[in-house]
Symmetry: C2
Subunit: 210 residues, 2 copies
């Protein structure tokens, strides 16, 4: 999605909304969220600095759209992994959630970071909330399906296991994306293969005492 400039002679842009979101992505990749400004977005779209206000109320509104778009891509990434796995392979599907999540984070690092900067977003936005919920449900439903398939029933640890799985997948993605953060802790020690880490994580979904 490239930033489409407005033709200089024309008054209307044509697809300013798209162009602005493309500009957001471009800038956030180049400079991070701190480097993002409404005016620069407008500039890249070849439009005056007041124009964006008609499509997104303000900066927060614009970032909220950008984040929501990210969640939809994230859902797509999980769906992509699902498609490779048979419905009966509940363990495989469980791992697919983690894979889709981590893959998205790694391939859209800048956007991923924005998605979880709740101070920057309108957290009451319906679409944003909905997409977030869907991601969470992909995880919980896959876990539940696996437990059902392995006849484990519902045990009291399950709630904590859901939290742990959610924490680990998100935490891994965050750490992978924050390269400087890894630098701090590890200096090369911690340069893990996502697959191996996910395999370890899967163990918590197994019945105890195996």
């Amino acid at each position: 999605m490239a930033v489409e400039q407005k033709a200089p002679n024309r008054y209307h842009h044509g697809d300013l909304r798209r162009a602005l979101l493309a500009a957001v992505d471009e800038i956030v990749r180049e400079l991070g969220v701190e480097g993002l400004s409404l005016r620069e977005c407008a500039r890249r779209a070849g439009v005056s600095h007041g124009a964006p206000a008609h499509h997104f109320r303000d900066k927060r509104g614009m970032l909220t759209e950008y984040a929501t778009d990210g969640f939809e891509k994230l859902l797509g990434s999980i769906a992509f992994e699902f498609d490779k796995i048979g419905l009966d392979d509940t363990m495989g599907r469980l791992k697919a959630v983690g894979k889709g999540y981590v893959n998205f984070a790694l391939s859209h690092q800048a956007q991923f970071k924005v998605m979880f900067r709740s101070e920057l977003l309108d957290n009451d936005n319906e679409r944003l909330l909905d997409r977030g919920r869907q991601v969470f449900e992909a995880l919980t439903k896959s876990l539940a399906a696996h437990w059902a398939a392995t006849n484990q029933g519902w045990r009291k640890e399950n709630l904590a296991q859901i939290s742990l799985a959610w924490s680990a997948v998100h935490g891994f993605a965050v750490l992978a994306v924050e390269a400087d953060l890894l630098r701090m802790g590890s200096e090369g020690l911690l340069n893990p293969d996502p697959d191996a880490v996910l395999d370890q994580l899967m163990l918590i979904a197994e019945p105890p005492g195996q």
Copy 2:
């Protein structure tokens, strides 16, 4: 640490550095990092807007100090948990790291968020790097001690396990601090007891097939 105003008649503040860091904390709690400005810090310390530059080179420098201070408190929190556990209880010490980490995140949410916003910080700062390293080492050393004590030796999964533990603890803290984020996924479902989640996490440190 309260923000100490400069006495209006005096020319020197006396302890401006401390006062500014206190102001940072105050503002970040109230408004988040986005709401932070050098000028507002100066105002709260009763000092002109140019004054902070002499103590921290610029905004990034100020935030770096604030973050470093946070890492030191985090180390303190882990040490506090360690003190309650005997040296021979390697499992207890392992859990203590997670507890100290999560406790700090929960009791200093605003500061915790800043600490991991690497785009805002001077990531080459020696003290910052050092304190970060120390936190990571608290985890890895405790894991290594536990493995040594349980005669497991070094297995090839250990690296992935370290990553997983680090991811899970950090991820859990992040999710706990980002309340709005939890709202998205859970709406009450995911309001976990840190202790229960840590217990689940501890299982990965055990030898396989138990």
